[in-house]
């Protein structure tokens, strides 16, 4: 067991979308919001270490981005480490922050995720959208991530009879949730028919099965639980953390209908947790494509293999359902600024477990899970939280 337990005492994020602000302004806004959310305040000089999750999309500060966070967060010399695991960058940055506290080495840590994606011509964006895939085999066969998840979706449909309607329902639900989230990129309800008839991108996935290209940043302030009580009466406790890796290319994996990294990360996280899956109030899952949410539900053990579609079609994962998934709109509708997503998921947990999620508040939310995936499953983190 770790010698200390970590808690989130502050969390903040920018709006997600195609924003006018550049990377520095986004970092500043998210970090300031996180500090402002600490009920009794915390001095910036108390932050002993920081972790920045970012891919450096479009080539922005592809080296040494940490220094920019140190400047914009006014950390006055505290060390900053950049963590890059593609779309799971902030999930792994959060894990690094949790470990720094659990080890007893640090008692206050800042975790930030950032991506600025919309500031380059579309051809250059298409180049960057594929850089985290396997470049030597998958990309040489003409695949980007939409294509890789299209392959996974085709196999899931083949083995389990998963329907296009079930995939569409993931998008419909997450758009409905995003309507209630003022930070979300897409605040527009969509119908199942609109998803099914949207232009095809990588069959069986259409445009409305895919997450958008998004700008945004999110920041979390972590402390030890003993210190947390000085900052707030209602810290959010970290009760489990797991992470795992898998092969870069899907062709090298045993299964095409399950991400082993997600399964292993969940096993590790729940091994330490005082409670199991059945007691979750809600989950923030990595739905970069609609099929990814179904895979996550099954790999996390929230439904049996092949069972996520029925659960989704029965609205059990919608707000008001048995186990709400992605109450903030998810990557699909809140938006997916690659390096920021893992931190933004924890921001939603911070709001929900403190009863501050306003119109999308889940009644009596007490226990939550976040799940962040790098690429098509080359890496994954699972983190478990509990209200204090």
């Amino acid at each position: 067991m770790p010698s200390e337990q970590a808690a989130i005492v502050g969390a903040g994020q920018t709006r997600f979308g195609a924003l006018r602000e550049g990377p520095r302004a986004l970092l500043r806004e998210a970090v300031d919001a996180a500090f402002a959310s600490v009920d009794r305040g915390i001095d910036r000089r108390e932050v002993e270490e920081a972790y920045l999750g970012t891919l450096g999309f479009n080539g922005w500060q592809i080296g040494n981005a940490s220094a920019v966070l140190a400047e914009e967060a006014r950390l006055e010399g505290a060390p900053v480490t950049r963590v890059e695991n593609a779309c799971a960058s902030a999930g792994f940055a959060l894990r690094a922050g949790i470990q720094a506290i659990e080890s007893g080495q640090r008692s206050a840590v800042l975790v930030v995720g950032l991506e600025k994606m919309t500031d380059a011509p579309s051809r250059r964006r298409r180049y960057w959208l594929g850089v985290s895939g396997d470049t030597e085999w998958e990309r040489l066969a003409g695949l980007t991530f939409a294509g890789v998840y299209g392959l996974l979706a085709s196999r899931h449909m083949h083995e389990y009879g998963t329907s296009p309607e079930a995939l569409a329902e993931v998008a419909v639900k997450n758009h409905a949730h995003a309507l209630l989230n003022p930070k979300a990129q897409f605040r527009k309800a969509i119908t199942r028919e609109e998803v099914l008839s949207s232009p095809r991108v990588a069959d069986p996935l259409g445009l409305l099965d895919c997450c958008p290209v998004t700008d945004g940043a999110a920041a979390l302030l972590l402390t030890s639980t003993s210190r947390a009580r000085r900052c707030t009466d209602t810290p959010v406790l970290v009760v489990g953390s797991g992470a795992a890796s898998d092969s870069l290319a899907v062709q090298d994996r045993a299964s095409l209908t399950s991400l082993a990294a997600t399964r292993r990360a969940a096993e590790e996280a729940f091994r330490r947790s005082p409670w199991d899956r059945a007691r979750l109030s809600f989950a923030e899952l990595h739905d970069c494509f609609t099929i990814a949410e179904l895979l996550a539900i099954e790999d996390l053990g929230l439904a049996p293999p092949g069972g996520a579609a029925a659960m989704t079609l029965a609205h059990e994962t919608a707000l008001g359902g048995r186990l709400p998934v992605n109450p903030d709109g998810g990557l699909k509708a809140k938006g997916h600024p690659i390096g920021a997503t893992g931190a933004s998921q924890a921001c939603e947990v911070f709001l929900q477990l403190r009863g501050q999620a306003e119109k999308r508040q889940i009644p009596a939310a007490a226990r939550a899970l976040t799940h962040n995936v790098g690429g098509s499953g080359a890496s994954a983190t699972v983190t478990l939280f509990e209200a204090s």
């Binding site: 980007t144 991108v201 996935l205």
Partner: protein, 361 residues
């Protein structure tokens, strides 16, 4: 007299989406490889054991012969390009002392399809085409005239499959050739117009040179050195078998994937044909990596499949020569070497899948 123990034809271009188009992923290198694979069969290295040389009948740069050695796994054979003179080619065929060898030729002129041939010239055996030189007056003044090694070979094979004994005249010489079919030979079916690819047009890129190879792709950067590292796996589907644990590793990267050993690994070639499709997607225009923009502008959407080549090996393959959306899980695929995209001043090549449509359920 010489005997053509194997003779195969590969023609460029195919119908895509029901419209006659040039295949943007073919060029003379991929056509030559296709012809040689048809002539040499499933295991070119074993088939070529009795051969003494590899001759490319084109004016091409020397690297073409070298690339062909790599693609076919025939590095042990001395290889050279000797130019496309049909008279010299005819002399080679007519000379009874020509040593056993593999002869490759390609022609691609404006207005005609790109065509490549592969001939296994040797003596003995039961099948094949017997070729004999005829000196003196043209034996058949009304007979056909051949302008290149490829057209000469077409005429020979056509003659041999007809009444069995005719002659072909070489312009500018008094030499003729007579061909006689001895029996079935590898590659024979490729000459049958019914089994050949659908109607095709000239591919202006087939002869090379039309794309600015100096353009460095805006796609994900795959340095030439890294790409070259995996060529035996990429072009010939070579895997590594571990002597200690019997694990099979693909691509071959010098370490057993199962037990981690670096020694005791032997090369094993996976079948290039007969893989089974396990997953399918259709990549629509706009969803392709930007380095495939050139191809998509010419032939539109394409399918990509995950195909199982062996109980322990799956590979990601783009589908070619098929209407997008045709691939199905469970289908069998064959593979061919095709052109991918230019980067660092050279074309990158890899294997693509051909659907065996009759295997659709």
């Amino acid at each position: 007299m010489a005997v053509l123990r194997a003779a195969a034809l590969a023609e460029g271009a195919a119908r895509v989406s029901g419209l006659p188009q040039c295949a943007p992923d073919e060029d003379r290198f991929t056509l030559l490889v296709a012809a040689a694979e048809l002539a040499l069969g499933e295991d070119p290295v074993a088939a070529a054991a009795p051969l003494e040389s590899l001759t490319v009948w084109t004016e091409a740069a020397p690297e073409l012969a070298e690339q062909l050695q790599t693609a076919l796994g025939l590095g042990r054979l001395p290889a050279r390009s000797v130019g496309g003179d049909p008279a010299r080619f005819a002399d080679m065929l007519a000379d009874p002392s020509t040593p056993p060898g593999l002869h490759l030729a390609v022609d691609a002129g404006p207005g005609s399809a790109a065509r490549a041939i592969a001939l296994w010239v040797g003596t003995g055996g039961s099948g094949g085409i017997e070729v004999a030189g005829v000196d003196g007056e043209p034996v058949d003044p009304a007979g056909t005239v051949a302008q290149s090694p490829v057209s000469l070979t077409r005429e020979l094979v056509g003659s041999a499959n007809g009444d069995g004994l005719r002659s072909v005249q070489i312009p500018g010489t008094r030499v003729g050739l007579r061909a006689k079919r001895l029996g079935p030979f590898p590659g024979e079916e490729s000459w049958n117009p019914a089994s050949a690819s659908p109607a095709h047009l000239a591919n202006p890129q087939a002869a090379g040179g039309e794309v600015d190879l100096g353009t460095v792709s805006e796609g994900a950067y795959l340095p030439l050195a890294t790409y070259l590292e995996d060529l035996p796996s990429r072009w010939r589907f070579e895997a590594e078998r571990c002597a200690a644990c019997n694990g099979l590793s693909f691509p071959a990267r010098g370490r057993c994937k199962r037990c981690g050993r670096l020694d005791g690994l032997s090369r094993e070639r996976l079948g290039r044909d007969g893989g089974t499709v396990e997953a399918v997607t259709t990549v629509r225009p706009g969803a392709q990596p930007s380095e495939f923009d050139f191809q998509v502008q010419r032939s539109g959407a394409y399918d990509v499949v995950l195909a199982r080549l062996h109980p322990d090996v799956r590979v990601t393959l783009q589908v070619t020569d098929a209407t997008a959306g045709s691939a199905r899980i469970g289908m069998t695929v064959n593979t061919r070497l095709r052109r991918l995209y230019p980067m660092e001043g050279a074309w990158r090549y890899g294997r693509k899948a051909l659907l065996r449509l009759e295997t659709a359920r």
